[in-house]
Each structure stands twice: as structure tokens, then as C-alpha cells.
């Protein structure tokens, strides 16, 4: 028979289901929650409850939203005719935090990963094509992850958008600011050379 109370054991069990949290970490978090004031612990519980009850995907761009449309789609000050395509809402957040982009988004909710059995039908690509076909879109920026699966996803989407009178661009890639040329990987250097631009 366990020496801990049933509620504490249940809390530890639930916490240890979270990614990156093992049994020991779950126990530490549970003891922390037992130590902090009741209001603080219940605020965390309420936040978890609210996010599960209220948050859904935006009907237009599939970002996280609490209404039918997300805050970005509802913001009239943003550039409406440029759509940046990302794999996940967390990629959108990263781009927003960069402060360098003020257009609209489209979240794919994944990537085409044939080796995992994930095809284009599992993503929101059809909805993106519909958005572009409805007009008023000047440019689509592919901001999928810079790896083989991300590139494949971007290429598939750009093939789908061919002939729709829209500029298709992708994020630049190559050497990072502050790095040293002679120590840069030759493949990354090759990317930088092939994607050079006028000075």
C-alpha cells in the first residue's frame, strides 16, 4: 500500500504523463503544488481547464483561437494579402516574437511525412488553396522547417498553388550572423552561396 494519499498519487501520475516529465520530476512538481498557496495552485488548475474548454483552431488560419477567428485574423492593421505558411502554432509564435512580420498566417497543423504515413490529406492544405483561390492574396511565404520533410511540404504546396496568380516565396537560409566562414559546414555554406542576393 502506498504511503502517499490517493490524491497526491493521482497528481503525480497525471504530471508524469507530460512530455519530458519523469516520475521524479512529477513528484517534485506535486510537492511544489502542495507547498504553494491554494489560490496559486487553483489558478493553474483553472488555466488548464480554460485552455481545454475555450481554445480551438481559428476557422480561417488554424492558429489557436478563443473565438471563431484568432486575434491575428481579426487585426485590421495587419497586411491582409500576404500569407505566411507554418507547420505548427508554435512556429507562428516564433515568427511573431521576431517582430519582423506583420501579415497573415496559415497553420498546416503538421507536415507531409510519408515515412510516418502522414500525407497531405491530414493537413490544412485544401483550406489554404481555397483562401488563395478566393483572391486578395498577393504572396504566400513558405515558412516550413528547413529540413527534408519541411522542404517537401513546401514544394507540394507550391505545386498546388501554381497557376493561381500568387507570388510564392520561402524563408532565406544559410550562414548565421556572427558565425565564422571557415568553421561553417560546407553544405550550409553552399546554401548561402546558392541563395545569395544583390548587395
Amino acid at each position: 500500500m502506498t504511503q502517499l494519499s490517493e490524491s497526491v498519487v493521482r497528481l503525480i501520475d497525471q504530471l508524469s504523463t507530460l512530455p519530458g516529465i519523469g516520475r521524479k520530476s512529477a513528484e517534485r512538481l506535486a510537492y511544489h503544488l502542495l507547498r504553494i498557496p491554494q489560490d496559486d495552485a487553483l489558478a493553474l488548475a483553472d488555466a488548464i481547464r480554460d485552455v481545454k474548454l475555450n481554445v480551438r483552431y481559428c476557422a480561417r488560419c488554424f492558429n489557436l483561437a478563443e473565438q471563431e477567428l484568432c486575434n491575428i485574423c481579426l487585426d485590421p492593421s495587419r497586411t491582409q494579402d500576404v500569407i505566411c505558411v507554418v507547420e505548427q502554432p508554435r512556429d507562428l509564435m516564433a515568427l511573431e516574437q521576431s517582430g519582423g512580420y506583420r501579415g497573415m498566417y496559415h497553420v498546416l497543423l503538421g507536415k507531409i511525412a510519408p515515412l510516418e504515413g502522414q500525407g497531405p490529406e491530414t493537413l490544412t492544405i485544401d483550406k489554404l488553396v481555397q483562401r488563395v483561390k478566393q483572391g486578395n492574396v498577393r504572396e504566400v511565404i513558405m515558412a516550413t522547417n528547413p529540413n527534408v520533410e519541411g522542404d517537401g511540404t513546401a514544394l507540394y504546396i507550391s505545386n498546388m498553388l501554381q497557376g493561381l496568380n500568387v507570388i510564392i516565396s520561402k524563408l532565406a537560409r544559410g550562414i548565421t550572423q556572427g558565425s565564422i566562414l571557415e568553421l561553417t559546414n560546407k553544405e550550409i555554406l553552399a546554401d548561402a552561396i546558392s541563395e545569395r542576393r544583390p548587395f
Binding site: 510519408p114 515515412l115 529540413n147 527534408v148 520533410e149 517537401g152 513546401a154 514544394l155 505545386n159 559546414n185
Partner: protein, 256 residues
């Protein structure tokens, strides 16, 4: 726990935690293995951009005993697969190569020749160019050559020169310029033996010759005679045969 160095093709990358991932590699000297790459997802990871599917890299890993994951300590990118940004057919064909490597080989069972064949196939798929039809033909040839040579190296090559059950001459297996290929028997069958195999595929003589040639080194993408072969029929048979061997249809086939 010795540190081992080898060349490797990245077959699969799976997220393990916020900063680490598990990679499945097909290595030149140790065959297939899975290893934990700690910190691989950090911005300044020691693995740079090496751990991407289809990349060829030079790795250092600590070999663990038993069922434990090996520990990857270094990975230096040697060659990255770039065709994924240019044409999807090359990309999906290369995915098929790594899926077959993953499914057809066992952990820590080295096949250095198969490793070299896989790298050269991936490199050729990466550099394949041409109009849609031309490219499709080139990719079919590369895939078939890889499949036949891989099967041969793994001791699973189909019997194409005589009845695989009774060893009757090839001439005795021909019926109206076609031969019967028995999936269960793993090769061509004479009229008498084919009655015992419930999974028979009829194959033209030119497809049969083409499959036999694909095991040799002269099965080149620029050879006009090779490009005129019934490549669709040959690929169809090979895909059936490999599906039969694996007991499961490779995931990538529906994309090809």
C-alpha cells in the same frame, strides 16, 4: 562502452524530449542502429544540421549493450539531400530507399556494400533531372536497380533463370512469351510447379530479362535499351515481391 566512428545515412528522426531526439541510422560498419542524440534540437547543437532524414553524415557514437539506445556524440554532415526542394518524385523515391533499408535489415547487422549502394542511389536520385516523363523513367531505373541489388545482397533475390522449385530450364517455363512468377516460391515457375503456388504474377520475357539485368552494373539510366524496357511492369512485380517478403506494404508506395 567504446566510441565508434562510421559513416551513416539518417533513416529516421523522432522527437524524444524538448531538446533531444532518437535517430535511426544505417551505418557503413555497424548496419542499422538507433541512438539518442542529446541536445540535438538545441539551436547550437553539436550535430549542426546533420540529423535530417536522407543526410549522409560521419558519426561518433557510444555503443551500449543489450536493448539500450546507443548514445550519439557527434555527427558531421557529409551530404544533404537537396532534391526535396526541387521535385517530389525524387524525394519520395529516396524515402522509399530509406524505408527499405529500415525494414529489410536488422539492427547491428552490417552490410557495407548495401550502404555504398544506398548512398550512390540517394546521390543519383538527388541529382536526377529532366522533364516529367524522362525523370519518371530515370527514377524507376534507379529504384529497380537498388531494389534488385539490395535483394541480392541480402540473399533475397528472386530466382529468374530457372524454375525455382524443380530447376527446369527457362525455356520450359515460357508460355506464350510470358513466364509465371510465384510470390510464395520467390521466382519463376514451370507449368507444373506453378499449380502449387497460389500467388502467381504473369511476367513478360522482356520484363524478366530487365529484372535480371538490374542486378548487374550495366543497368544505367542513360542506356537507351534499359529506358525502353517495360519499367512499369517490372516495378509492379518488384513492389509486390517486396511487400510479400515484408508481410506489409511499404508506407511510401502510395506516394510513388
Amino acid at each position: 562502452m567504446a566510441a565508434e566512428k562510421t559513416l551513416a545515412i539518417v533513416l529516421r528522426v523522432t522527437e524524444f524530449s524538448e531538446t533531444s531526439c532518437v535517430v535511426t541510422l544505417f551505418t557503413q560498419d555497424f548496419g542499422k542502429l538507433s541512438a539518442l542524440a542529446k541536445g540535438a534540437r538545441r539551436p547550437k547543437s553539436p550535430f549542426e544540421a546533420a540529423l535530417d532524414v536522407l543526410s549522409v553524415c560521419r558519426v561518433v557514437f557510444l555503443q551500449k549493450s543489450g536493448d539500450s539506445l546507443h548514445l550519439l556524440t557527434e555527427a558531421k554532415l557529409e551530404r544533404r539531400f537537396r532534391a526535396g526542394a526541387r521535385n517530389l518524385e525524387s524525394l519520395y523515391a529516396a524515402y522509399y530507399v530509406v524505408e527499405l533499408l529500415g525494414r529489410m535489415t536488422d539492427h547491428l547487422d552490417p552490410h557495407p556494400e548495401l550502404f555504398r549502394l544506398a548512398v550512390s542511389t540517394i546521390v543519383e536520385l538527388d541529382s536526377a533531372i529532366g522533364e516529367k516523363h524522362e525523370l519518371h523513367t530515370t527514377i524507376s531505373i534507379l529504384l529497380m536497380r537498388f531494389q534488385m541489388q539490395m535483394l541480392s545482397m541480402l540473399g533475397q533475390a528472386p530466382g529468374l533463370h530457372a524454375c525455382v522449385e524443380c530447376n527446369a530450364n527457362l525455356e520450359e517455363t515460357i508460355d506464350k512469351k510470358r513466364v509465371a512468377f510465384g510470390l510464395n516460391s520467390g521466382g519463376i515457375l514451370c507449368a507444373k510447379c506453378k499449380r502449387n503456388d497460389r500467388r502467381i504474377i504473369s511476367l513478360s520475357l522482356s520484363a524478366l530479362q530487365g529484372l535480371a539485368d538490374a542486378m548487374g552494373t550495366n543497368f544505367g539510366i542513360n542506356d537507351a535499351a534499359v529506358r525502353k524496357l517495360p519499367l512499369g511492369e517490372m516495378r509492379g512485380l518488384l513492389d509486390w515481391y517486396i511487400t510479400h517478403l515484408l508481410g506489409i506494404k511499404p508506407t511510401i508506395l502510395k506516394f510513388l
